[in-house]
């Protein structure tokens, strides 16, 4: 099969070699977890426990009614010590439930459920009850993607195995160690959606996994209809829209969702979590992540309980060259937020923690735009970043909107390629907020 891709993009240094071949190390014992209550994209939820409660691993500890909500579960057994705002990987203080471990390995999982024979409603309820969100980064509720309105027929389920962010290798390892779970997760989702076709979109820097995935598919009766599609190694290949366009040639309409072009996309980690939720009844309480960066002395692929403070992993699990650290990133270097310290919990959507040194984290002063057009060619959304930048600098929000600032997926490729190191995507993020604020004002005025 030919290697597919999208137009535009860039190829930042991959730097995956440090952790590429390392098996996932399972961290079972942590002294405490700090579990942020709201780890999903959507409506807020509330704690179900109070300080002093004894909870078991797998027990639901926060939930709410509403379509765009996802519950949260205790990832270790122990006692609720505090419920207070803590720094989250999104750089905001959010309410978190702090559980101190009692050392027991008791669990309170859901009963196993056969995802290949249950009803669609049962499947969706299970996926929600297991607290599954998109594990690629955005944290979108998984069950919502699986319940498209009837006027949006779905014909394709895509597993996002691009892992286009530099450094990160956790998805790669997951596929190597548990390819069957990926296939099962996909089969369950395909069945729930009534779709007969599934595609695993794999960047060709991981082409060695193709045969393994294909034999995992072939050896399972429910693997029917699932294929592996190699994609060119290029950032942001794992962007949902870019992935869909590369695989199907369809373009998600502006302001729309993948379901508008008949696709449902989940990260491979999400499919694995779905498989676990059915096979073992295990909610999403463990998170695989890559710990890397030049200032990390022990680059690793880890599996830790959700809520584990990165600082609690030091020094037993990972060691950091504290002198050399200049930047701490949750996620990949292209989109992941930088944090002021590493006393921060691993969340459901934390794909990696990077400790960058001075050289890796080099920042540049913004120079004048020389109109070289590199950003224009790199923008996978064809947004003319150079012109958008001018519009925003001139505070011309109408023009910015016309050029398409609201369509920016904030992948950061423009800022990466700019020879003058202009803060393009950074300005677009602010621009989006300004446009939203302006629209709100206009709506208010119209309402009066």
């Amino acid at each position: 099969m030919s290697i597919k891709t999208f137009k535009g993009g860039a190829h930042p240094p991959e730097r995956k070699h440090r952790t590429e071949g390392l098996p996932i190390e399972n961290v079972r014992t942590v002294k405490q977890v700090v579990i942020p209550v709201n780890q999903h994209f959507g409506a807020p939820i509330q704690p179900l426990v109070k300080v002093g409660d004894v909870v078991k691993r797998g027990q639901k500890i926060a939930d709410a009614d509403g379509r765009m909500t996802v519950p949260v579960h205790a990832s270790i057994s122990g006692t609720v010590k505090k419920i207070e705002p803590r720094l989250q990987p999104n750089n905001l203080d959010g309410m978190a439930i702090i559980i101190e471990s009692d050392g027991s390995s008791e669990t309170a999982f859901l009963p196993p459920l056969d995802g290949l024979s249950c009803t669609k409603d049962e499947a969706l309820a299970r996926i929600r009850e297991a607290g599954i969100v998109g594990m690629g980064g955005a944290g979108f509720p998984a069950h919502v993607k699986l319940a498209p309105p009837p006027n949006k027929p779905i014909d394709l389920v895509i597993a996002n195995a691009a892992e286009c962010e530099p450094y990160l290798t956790i998805d790669e390892r997951m596929m190597e160690e548990a390819p069957g779970d990926l296939v099962l997760g996909m089969a369950i989702v395909m069945r729930a959606l009534g779709v007969s076709k599934g595609v695993i979109g794999l960047e060709d820097n991981k082409s060695h996994l193709q045969g393994q995935l294909e034999s995992a598919i072939a050896s399972r009766h429910y693997g029917n209809g699932i294929t592996v599609q190699l994609l060119k190694t290029k950032y942001p290949q794992g962007g949902e829209k870019m992935l869909i366009t590369a695989i199907t040639g369809r373009e998600v309409p502006s302001g729309g969702l993948p379901m508008d072009v008949g696709c449902v996309v989940h990260n491979v980690g999400t499919f694995k979590a779905i498989a676990d939720a059915f096979q073992e009844g295990k909610p999403l309480i463990d998170r695989g992540l890559t710990v890397s960066g030049a200032a990390c002395k022990t680059p690793k692929n880890l599996m830790v309980p959700v809520g584990t403070l990165v600082s609690d992993l030091v020094p037993d699990v990972i060691q950091i060259d504290e002198e050399a650290v200049r930047r701490v990133i949750f996620g990949g270097p292209m989109m992941g937020p930088s944090l002021p310290n590493w006393t921060v919990p691993v969340q459901k959507n934390t794909s990696g923690v990077l400790f960058m040194d001075e050289r890796e984290a080099k920042v540049y002063e913004e120079g004048p735009c020389i109109r070289c057009g590199r950003c224009m060619r790199a923008c996978s959304c064809r947004l003319s970043p150079a012109l958008l930048n001018n519009a925003l600098k001139a505070n011309d929000l109408d023009l910015a909107e016309q050029i398409g600032v609201m369509d920016c997926i904030e992948c950061g490729t423009c800022s990466y390629v700019c020879p003058s190191h202009i803060q393009l995507v950074q300005r677009f993020r602010v621009g989006k907020q300004l446009v939203r604020a302006k629209k709100q004002k206009e709506a208010q005025r119209a309402g009066k």
Partner: protein
């Protein structure tokens, strides 16, 4: 927990190592074959024009930025490129003070007054040249045969001049043989002589071959896009043919290839949008040819590009349709909802 010293800027946290200096360096390297060949053809005077022009450009930029209390920007090498370009589109016999004036005018009037690097609406080197042509028409149109001292005895009309003054393409070939620049006067060897650049003309414009070498280098490094030069040269070819001129001769004889490769690809003064680039190239080629055919000058590249420079901001409105573009719904439909 050590929290000092950690960088907290918004993502991305990884940046390309490329910078403006590297781009300018690539352009300088791409100009080197033509530059060296110009010195070989016309000797020390050409070298003098080049050095004086580059030095004046750099000095003018530095002094202007000093006087206006802006950070110096010598390091990005853009003034070197401007100075070099001014020299390469000047005749080799240009008095050195005029070369200096042209370079200073290019940097100060065309570039720094508009905000410096990236902000110039017109190509600085062409503005420098335009000012020189208007101020010193004689000096800017005195051409010399290659491989001779630049004296009155060795002045020689450029191929386009020969034709403008009523000569035929065959006369150009005869002229080459007479000066010992070609071994035969037939059409093909005349074209070959033009292609390798064994002719009178500006310091850097003559050798099409070496310009293309530089162009290939810039394309390989993805510093420039092929569309504008291709459109400009292609239009010159087609329109020359339509207007009854020899199209191959038209492309090989003047400065159109040099202009297309090194002027029409200037970042600041040309459109950034792909369609804009195409129209820019077509327009520049068309104006060049029309000036050659109907205008008072034998050559029209300078004005072809400068006139299109003025239109470039409008051409930038011809943006590519964004990903997932949905045509705006008609108001009537909205009302019906």
């Amino acid at each position: 927990m050590p929290a000092n010293n950690l960088l907290l800027s918004s993502s991305p946290s990884s940046y390309t190592r490329g910078d403006v200096r590297k781009i300018m360096l690539a352009v300088i390297i791409a100009l080197m074959p033509s530059t060296v060949y110009g010195v070989v053809l016309f000797g020390v005077p050409a070298l003098g024009v080049i050095l004086v022009s580059v030095f004046s450009a750099v000095a003018a930029e530095a002094l202007f930025r000093l006087a206006t209390k802006q950070d110096p920007r010598i390091g990005d090498l853009s003034a070197v490129v401007t100075g070099l370009l001014v020299a390469l589109i000047s005749p080799p016999s240009l008095p050195l003070w005029m070369a200096a004036l042209g370079a200073v005018a290019a940097v100060i009037f065309a570039k720094e007054f508009f905000g410096g690097l990236g902000a110039n609406p017109f190509n600085p080197a062409l503005i420098g040249r335009a000012i020189l042509v208007m101020s010193f028409p004689a000096a800017m149109t005195t051409w010399h045969a290659p491989f001779g001292a630049l004296t009155d005895a060795t002045t020689m009309a450029t191929p386009l001049n020969v034709v403008k003054l009523g000569g035929s393409v065959a006369d150009v070939g005869a002229g080459f043989v007479e000066r010992g620049l070609a071994s035969a006067a037939d059409y093909n060897s005349m074209l070959w002589t033009l292609f390798v650049g064994n002719r009178a003309g500006c310091i850097g414009e003559s050798s099409i071959l070496l310009i293309l070498v530089g162009f290939a280098f810039l394309l390989a490094l993805r510093v420039v896009q092929i569309v504008t030069p291709l459109a400009m040269v292609g239009t010159t070819f087609l329109l020359s043919w339509l207007l009854g001129m020899d199209p191959v001769f038209g492309v090989l004889s003047g400065g159109v290839v040099f202009g297309a490769v090194f002027m029409a690809t200037d970042y600041a003064s040309t459109p950034v949008t792909p369609l804009g680039k195409l129209i820019f190239g077509v327009g520049a080629g068309a104006i060049t040819t029309i000036i050659r055919r109907f205008g008072g000058f034998p050559e029209g590249v300078t004005y072809g590009i400068l006139i299109m420079n003025a239109i470039a901001p409008f051409l930038d409105k011809l943006r590519v349709k964004k990903y997932g573009f949905v045509p705006p719904a008609k108001p009537a439909k909205e009302a019906g909802k």
